[in-house]
């Protein structure tokens, strides 16, 4: 009996026009492995995977972890570009594994996957994010007002005032920018792009009243002046934030003290 359900299943089994029978291709993942409980050396390990080019690097890592080697260690939570936990260095560029499609990074050659640089590697692709979050905390990423009383009405803001810092509200604290910065690689004392982006988000917020304080913090020896305008951060940001521009705006605000 030909029910609509059966028809549908039959149709789903057919390859789409223009595609070969199986969309799967063989991809090599070259993963940087480090396990301090086994060796002091980090080494490359290759994995052969059958992947649909429309799948993501995270799917490949899942296949390795679930089917090939359960000891592979990496962070991921949302798997949809929101939580910011799976920033890694893929083919030499910082990206979110969950937002990087296999077809976009040349699956003909081995795909290299490494931990992000400039932070202590704990195991495989997992790094110690503490210095990164310390810099984040240091810029006081929360609303500060001089009025210590509980507000009695909503803090209103015009659309233009909101627009002023819209770009920097999009940050998901993935550390792709900070760990792509060559200044940070060598000198983790530098606040790094992400901390400056999150300071920018409040410095240019008309409701916030501690902009001056945050500017003073970023006027530090390891603050915005260490930025060398390399633009690695802007290229790395999976949220498309114009990171270097935000840093430049903080520099300008420090020189003119207008924000």
């Amino acid at each position: 009996m030909a029910t609509p359900v059966l028809d549908k299943e039959e149709a789903a089994g057919k390859p789409e026009p223009g595609f070969a029978d199986s969309p799967y291709i063989t991809v090599t993942f070259r993963v940087r492995r480090f396990n301090p409980e086994v060796s002091a050396e980090a080494t490359w390990e290759d994995f052969q995977l059958e992947l649909d080019p429309k799948e993501r690097v995270l799917d490949g890592l899942h296949k390795i972890k679930w089917d090939l080697d359960g000891s592979l260690t990496f962070r991921r939570s949302c798997a949809h570009g929101i939580c910011g936990s799976d920033a890694m260095r893929i083919n030499g560029k910082n990206r979110l594994a969950c937002k990087t499609l296999i077809k976009d990074i040349n699956p003909e050659k081995p795909i290299t996957v490494e931990p992000i640089k400039g932070l202590t590697v704990l195991k495989d692709l997992v790094v110690d994010m503490e210095p990164f979050f310390q810099a984040y905390r240091d810029v006081m990423p929360f609303l500060i007002t001089k009025d210590t009383n509980e507000p009695t009405r909503e803090r209103l803001q015009s659309a233009e005032d909101r627009e002023r810092f819209d770009d920097t509200t999009k940050c998901i604290l993935c550390a792709a920018c900070t760990s792509s910065c060559p200044v940070f690689w060598n000198d983790g004392q530098y606040f790094g792009p992400a901390a400056i982006v999150n300071a920018h988000r409040f410095i240019f917020d008309s409701r916030d009243e501690a902009g001056e304080q945050r500017l003073e913090i970023l006027n530090d020896r390891d603050g915005v002046w260490r930025c060398r305008t390399t633009f690695n951060c802007t290229d790395a940001c999976p949220r498309g934030i114009e990171v270097t521009k935000a840093i430049q705006e903080v520099k300008r605000a420090l020189i003119t003290r207008r924000y």
Partner: protein, 160 residues
């Protein structure tokens, strides 16, 4: 447990005793100069701001000074072949070229030294290597500026 047995680390007896185990892990791959809770050493003052602005402003002035200098010395009026003691003596007889060269010396030296200071800050990891490299840089800078200034002002065209 005997050390020759296969352990959780997966290193079998053939390779001998595993060097690193769960209880004795290898050192982590540390990042140089990590940020800690104590990191913001609250460096008050606007020195870095001033240094950053100086690089841009001196750069603009240097474009004019250096291109002018190169044109006069190497391109116009016969190029390098004209340069000799007499040519230098003739130019430094005029306060205009004295001030030009003095300005170029000071700006280029301070600009270059501050640029190298940035490079040291970016690349040197250990506190002691940072200190020594900067000490060397500042000594060389001060020495060159003083010597150059002395020559510009005490140049004697009748030395021969």
């Amino acid at each position: 447990m005997s050390t020759t047995e296969t352990t959780a680390s997966g290193v079998g007896p053939v390779e001998g005793a595993p060097v690193y185990t769960v209880d004795n892990p290898a050192p982590l791959i540390e990042a140089p100069r990590k940020r800690t809770k104590k990191s913001p050493k609250s460096t008050r003052g606007n020195f870095e701001l001033a240094a950053w602005l100086f690089m841009r402003l001196s750069g603009i002035v240097l474009v004019i000074l250096v291109i002018g200098h190169l044109l006069i010395q190497l391109v116009l009026d016969g190029g390098v072949s004209k340069i000799g003691f007499a040519f230098v003596a003739g130019r430094w007889a005029s306060p205009w070229w004295q001030v030009w060269d003095l300005l170029m010396l000071w700006l280029a030296m301070l600009h270059g030294a501050n640029g190298l200071r940035t490079v040291i800050n970016d690349y040197a990891e250990r506190a002691s290597s940072r200190m020594w490299l900067k000490a060397l840089l500042y000594t060389a800078t001060v020495w060159t500026i003083l010597l150059g200034t002395l020559v510009i002002f005490t140049f004697d065209p009748n030395i021969r």
